[in-house]
Symmetry: C2
Subunit: 345 residues, 2 copies
Amino acid sequence: MTVQRRPTIADVARHAGVSKGLVSYALNDRPGVSSDSRKRILEAASDLGWTPSLRARSLSTGRSFACGVVVGRSPDVIAADPFFHSLIAGLEDVFAVSGQVLVLAVATPGRKEAETYRGLADDRRVDGVVLTDLRAGDQRIALVQRLGLQAVTLGRPDVESPFSSVSVDDGAGIRSAVAHLAALGHRRVAHVAGPPSMMHGQRRADAFLAAAADAGLDPVVVATDFSAAEGAEATQRLLSGGDRPTAIVYSNDHMAVAGLGVAQRLGLRVPDDLSITGFDDTDLGRYIHPSLTSVATDARAWGSAAGRALLDALSGAAPTHADLAEPTLIIRESTGPAPSSPRRG
Amino acid sequence: MTVQRRPTIADVARHAGVSKGLVSYALNDRPGVSSDSRKRILEAASDLGWTPSLRARSLSTGRSFACGVVVGRSPDVIAADPFFHSLIAGLEDVFAVSGQVLVLAVATPGRKEAETYRGLADDRRVDGVVLTDLRAGDQRIALVQRLGLQAVTLGRPDVESPFSSVSVDDGAGIRSAVAHLAALGHRRVAHVAGPPSMMHGQRRADAFLAAAADAGLDPVVVATDFSAAEGAEATQRLLSGGDRPTAIVYSNDHMAVAGLGVAQRLGLRVPDDLSITGFDDTDLGRYIHPSLTSVATDARAWGSAAGRALLDALSGAAPTHADLAEPTLIIRESTGPAPSSPRRG
DNA sequence: TTCGTCGCCTGAACCGGTTCAAATGGACTG
DNA sequence: CAGTCCATTTGAACCGGTTCAGGCGACGAA
């Protein structure tokens, strides 16, 4: 009874009557292997059902064949964000076919973000990382570079970066939301923004202010941490103030839904008394009442573009900066004519 | 100028004046190393800032120091489920301190689930996996066993399993929801369930029927795939039928929120005309209007318990079956006295 | 014929750990 | 003082690939 042992490259070599080295060359499509030998080797490999040991390959080539995503601090904020899952699905779409694997690390209060990156790098667990939720003056870029990892950033950083980036002009999404509201006659409009320290939070806020200025509107911006709790709180503040807005543009759907709850609790009708828009176009937005007007981004496409950029970088390509298709505004029931507007209502 | 090269075990050995082998013993807390040598070796290691190469360790020990989670088919259903993020955070809590890393693989339509497991196993990418969303007669258990991986199941499988399991009695959560509704005078109650093929979906449905029977209620159950879309659809069917329920117990918050939207759209007041309960107690449930009565489970604790069980199994422990604390019902505004009930209404 | 070139192939070193059999040496026994 | 035992230590093999320097034979040119 022969012991069940998975075949090694030596078995393949013996079986094909050549040396280990030649098998390695043949399997990696290197030149210098006669087509006759190559054929024999491939046959032997498939006869034996041989797959190269990733571990051995890893040791001798110094690569991990894995990429990482470090999820930032607050699990609640992340948990809420369906964006993340779609992003990961997109990354996996690309990684899976190229034999990479995705390592997900969570930075916890007990293990700060930098430590988490350092851990991945020290153990050479990954060849590269995807930097999400880019921040203003993001330290991670220098850190990751120092750690000798490749990377790709989601969005273009505001600091010097040697890495590729893949961006979505979410500003365009916000602009179309503001334009939509302006067309409906709203003048006093608010934006419940993400944290200014996060680049997309800030970028959306900037876009909001710029678009409002262009349309001659009267804007307010309130910063939050993207959570439903702060979204609700911001809404409460905005609506209980004196000069209250007739429309609120939220920086994500999650806060918009929470904000909707607050408005209803205050006895306001949406969209009659207040129009609201979300961002992300999550599933849920379609089913709540009133359904949510929202900016739709394609997180999965973003993920695959980022994954591809990272793989390119790993194979030595020069950094690139890609821009994805502009997000589009999906108009549903939560936006309507401004209360005082003469138009249709 | 000396080249920057990370120190290897040989450097440490030289520095401490001993052999490679002894360094390995000392670092792995093996007996048979004099305390004097051990001290010298540890000093040398810290002097040089040496960390063992995971790759080399991996090659010689045959372990990966990584565990995997395979996310099933539909990204949308998953994306919606904050449960997942919390679970992962819980797993990571445990893995991080034990030097494990979490590999997340997504099964896509193009790459079926079994293939995904096989891929992880063939490449020996992981030492073990966490099986989530256990299904009736779950094939994955046999598959994973055949692939030579360790595993832990979330919930107790209905088939022979050599693996540890960590369960939550979500039935208890459903029972308390039904009891709550019965106490409020509801008689005609419905359950919008998950797919019967998923064990927790079925278990909750069973618990619902049992609890309804106990309380002498008149129950209906509608199966869905856990998505907001099907949750909405099920609600529509339930509410537009003749003998409509006065309360609906949803198998997750996501569907409950969608169901709330449908009810409102039909002109029903919640909780005056209809009471609803969710499951998971997601963040959002607190902020919508009316706020959602929901069953709170501690997914993060579940994750850490599962992580620990998996690590135990990897170090050779016999399989165990743990039960976590019972979920609790968080009562909010979405449940109230039955319409026809005389109580407080 | 002789040399150089080129394509193909081999053997061995190497990546950086773990592990095992055997060597060392000191203490203890008889 | 030899023999035994034990704790400690060493050197080498091993995990399974990659890679490099060099060998070999065929072929073309001088």
